[in-house]
């Protein structure tokens, strides 16, 4: 099944949602929605992987056409990935019905 749109979720430390949007907009994203969230991680796992989890998070949700997805995910990995201060992770989900993006007609992917 081919999907025309994908939704990208990017979870970053608080304060980095602007950096996420800047990266995404470079590759054609038009807007996003930021949700405040709280991260949970096993302290042992933190020690094992040598990272510290800041509990306050922001979850940025960006709806994009499928052809833009790969470039945006790569940009997010480089700009706000786990090796940066944003300590972000990003993933995408296929979206099979979209309304309100572009035209007003419901689009079936």
């Amino acid at each position: 099944m081919k999907f025309q749109h994908e939704v990208i979720f990017c979870i970053v430390n608080t304060g980095f949602s602007d950096a996420v949007m800047d990266s995404a907009k470079k590759f054609g994203a038009r807007g996003g929605t930021v949700i405040r969230a709280r991260g949970t991680a096993n302290p042992e796992a933190e020690k094992l992987f040598g990272i510290t989890i800041q509990p306050e998070k922001e979850m940025v949700m960006i709806l994009v056409p499928s052809e833009l997805k790969d470039n945006i995910l790569h940009a997010l990995y480089n700009d706000v990935g786990l090796n940066t201060a944003g300590a972000g992770i990003a993933f995408s989900l296929p979206v099979d019905n979209v309304l309100g993006v572009g035209g007003n007609e419901p689009a079936k992917s």
């Binding site: 929605t33 949700i35 940025v60 019905n97 979209v98």
Partner: protein
């Protein structure tokens, strides 16, 4: 006793001769045929309808309209919803251009049956375009698994009925 033992191979021979002549192998009698009083055919199972598939529906609207859209989605059997407060990422320039000031948003997560999506989107499309400050976006993500029959029934709005 001796007679019976002698007759047995003869019967087998006859059977095999018949099979050779007709080209068919002799069929072993089924257990049901041997037991008198029992019907020979096993009752055919009636095909049960498949449980409906569901999608996760995500709707982003202005915060002041969240309650309205939540109630509206209820009409399309979106029983399980939760509303999360969020904010948009539109820049100042775009906001000024559109004549908007606030970026406060609400995200409504809900579970909708796939056969209701078209109908719901048609209704939402009308609301997005006709209501003042009621514009928004909505999309669905297919769910692949769910666990718990009671919850699943609640999600598909099936309170009574057959097995799942």
């Amino acid at each position: 006793m001796e007679d019976n033992e002698k007759k047995a191979p003869a019967t087998t021979e006859v059977k095999s001769k018949v099979a050779r002549a007709t080209g068919k192998t002799a069929r072993e009698p089924k257990k049901a045929e041997l037991e008198p009083g029992k019907s020979q055919r096993a009752p055919r199972k009636r095909a049960e309808p498949k449980p409906p598939k569901v999608d996760l529906m995500i709707t982003v609207v202005n915060r002041e309209k969240a309650e309205f859209y939540s109630d509206y989605l209820q009409e399309y059997e979106v029983n399980m919803q939760f509303i999360v407060q969020a904010h948009g990422t539109a820049s100042e320039e775009i906001l000024n251009y559109l004549g908007m000031t606030a970026t406060d948003k609400a995200v409504i997560f809900g579970i909708i049956r796939q056969d209701k999506v078209k109908e719901a989107f048609s209704g939402l499309s009308d609301k997005f375009t006709t209501i003042k400050r009621g514009a928004g976006i909505s999309f669905t993500v297919p769910l692949t698994s769910a666990i718990g029959v009671a919850i699943y029934r609640f999600m598909i709005n099936q309170t009574q009925g057959g097995r799942l």
